[in-house]
Symmetry: C3
Subunit: 210 residues, 3 copies
């Protein structure tokens, strides 16, 4: 039962990321197979990178094809109903935020289940949360999300770190997952709503040719 909550969150993250891939496909006016491809790559991309880096092979969706089929199903459904949504760009941004927050904790959890220590669990949580979107943007011909001047990777880093810290402090897994998820989502939501960003690197005055 404990495990099934983590698995449900992971599966839900996969669905919302698949939806964001399908929404990019809709903006690019792709056909239904393009929707299925971009939705699947976005939904399973982050976890695939995580499994490759850890050597947990075959990757999760090759072991359980239901993950891939779910992505295809979500993407194909989006093909038929996405045009009914008032603002697809807004839906994309918020679905991406929820997926980012979910994968930042479930990715770290899966890494720890494979024996990773805290540093690597946090790093693989960030990788799981961000690489689906990075691959989506590169394949979709968009500017990679990490280049936009918003708090994005930072939110994933916060989520993974809060999760790992809670576990380290002796909290049980489910409340730790919840704490990390809420921390990541709150930061990302604040960044979207109030246009927050971290202080950026600014050129010094005399250097016009960086």
């Amino acid at each position: 039962m404990l495990d099934s909550i983590a698995q449900f969150l992971d599966w839900f993250g996969l669905c919302v990321f698949a939806l964001t891939g399908a929404l990019v496909a809709s903006r690019k006016q792709m056909d239904i197979v393009g929707f299925a491809l971009l939705g699947s790559v976005t939904g399973i991309g982050g976890g695939t990178i995580r499994d490759l880096l850890m050597g947990a092979l075959p990757v999760f969706w090759v072991q359980k094809p239901a993950y891939l089929l779910t992505c295809v199903l979500v993407s194909c459904a989006a093909f038929f109903v996405a045009h009914l949504v008032q603002s697809r760009q807004r839906l994309l941004i918020w679905a991406d935020a929820v997926g980012l927050a979910l994968f930042s904790v479930t990715g770290a959890d899966i890494a720890q289940a494979h024996g990773a220590g805290s540093v690597i669990a946090i790093a693989l949580g960030v990788a799981t949360a961000t690489f689906g979107g990075i691959i989506r943007d590169i394949l979709g011909g968009d500017v990679p999300v990490i280049l936009r001047r918003e708090i994005y990777v930072t939110a994933a880093l916060l989520g993974s770190s809060v999760f790992a810290l809670c576990l380290h402090l002796g909290l049980a897994k489910n409340p730790s997952l919840a704490a990390g998820f809420m921390a990541a989502l709150a930061l990302r939501a604040a960044a979207i709503s109030f246009d927050l960003s971290l202080p950026i690197f600014v050129n010094s005055g005399g250097n016009n040719n960086p």
Copy 2:
């Protein structure tokens, strides 16, 4: 002997994909090492992704360097003779079509030989057929082939599916390979010749800001 036909098709697909990589290098006016790199990455890229996802490591060309050397040889030959071709763009498109059709069936075949079920074999056939070209386009600075409004991924999907279906219906491997290859090539050739495309996602009237 049966196996050697599948291996010959796979090796031939590798050669034509290496050629397409070299042709992109020629359009970008790269030097001979650039030809070798882009040709090799395109020729072995799809199969490398397939092997990584399945965990069939080291990947095939690390196990048998002859694959890599073949790509280098084809690319270097193209460096010296590509300028003799009347329309390199036309050659690129058709070589890519043949490679796509070949890898869609040999990729699925290799996946099944490693124990994959039908769904995963079809998915890995599509991945083998399309990722070489995707990597080629990204490294070459072109718009990824999957974004162009043509039947491309769909042709690979048809090829893998026909192959898996024929096997499932009890056909022997070689006729199944042939059937899948011909289905994929016929669809891709029709798409190129008659500018076919699937119905695309179109915005609803009132939504000018997707």
Copy 3:
């Protein structure tokens, strides 16, 4: 002691590549987390690809988190001091050259330690040396370094080949590493300083539509 020299060179290459990633982040005016991400991906990217292709999993930095932490540390330090550098572009180019030369020999060395023959060791040396920069450029939204008309991949190929040849001729490992490193760095330095390039592919006169 012998091994520690190779490991020191590998670690030093990781640091200078992490620095190049941070310098790209500074040009793109990213925040400190962006510096850490782009620096880390550049520093560990090439070796990660090498380990994946060989099946040496988990990849090196998952086994030893100190590599990842070093990249993060170098990137964060760069966030605070990079604006003091007169010409960041110049520093980036030369740090990249040193990293390229170092990884071309240490990558080949690590591949051989995992049982690779000469051809594959050379190929994986080139992959280790070039893919960190390729990933950096793609994520950073720059034209991939391999497309610029300079001797780049060729320098990595020379370094790996000289290293493998020296070993093959019976030289000890450390002088072989030094010979390969110096050959790669000398060629890359000459290319930067004198704007050298290999003969490129040029269209024949009558072909205006390649």
